[in-house]
Symmetry: C2
Subunit: 121 residues, 2 copies
């Protein structure tokens, strides 16, 4: 049988649009999504799940109501469930998101920044 | 509040031993573990879960009964549950494992290569 690894750089080279996560793999009921971000997002939270950010390239800032964290290339951060957060990227950031299948990028807030879910690349 | 990102390189610099996964973070009931590998492992499978390999540095080969895959730096591969596999590293490989809390490195096979579980770094 043919087995094939998944390259984050290769997948990220297939699209230019920002704030639209693309699924590249699944593990049980969790999905791995690559996404490009630049600028400010909306405050939101995920009431039912933690959310993992792994930065492939760039400097991601995640704002919280009582602080912030910078996540750089080769670093990760897990946002606990129910905690309001807002991603911000001064320059374009390329990252890997890990979360259960069905989680929306805007969490429980919705609105015009909500991306179509479960889009594979 | 103080929020802190997790650097894979920093964590991997804290130990030299091979084949002993160390937990660096949790997302819901899943754990992120860094590990160094070199040489050959034992054939095993995980009957209840998929297992994710993300290579931080090096060239990991995962053997299957009917093929193999090379996973290089910046690449990932998900081994499906119930599928026999055997990691192999010609040179030292540094990688991130993602799997549910409680999963042993030797899966359902056990034996002397079984590492202590749930060791944090």
């Amino acid at each position: 049988m043919i087995y094939k690894s998944i390259s984050f750089t290769q997948k990220l080279g297939l699209f230019a649009e920002q704030w639209k996560p693309k699924v590249v793999a699944e593990m049980n009921d969790y999905q791995f999504k690559v996404v490009k971000l630049k600028g400010d997002f909306v405050w939101h939270e995920h009431q039912d799940t933690d959310e993992t950010f792994i930065v492939i390239d760039g400097d991601l800032r995640i704002d919280f109501r009582d602080g912030a964290v910078h996540v750089l290339s080769g670093e990760m951060f897990v946002v606990p469930k129910g905690v309001e957060h807002k991603p911000y990227a001064e320059g374009e950031v390329k990252l890997l998101l890990i979360e259960p299948r069905g989680v929306l990028n805007t969490g429980d807030v919705g609105g015009e920044r909500t991306a179509e879910n479960d889009v594979w690349i």
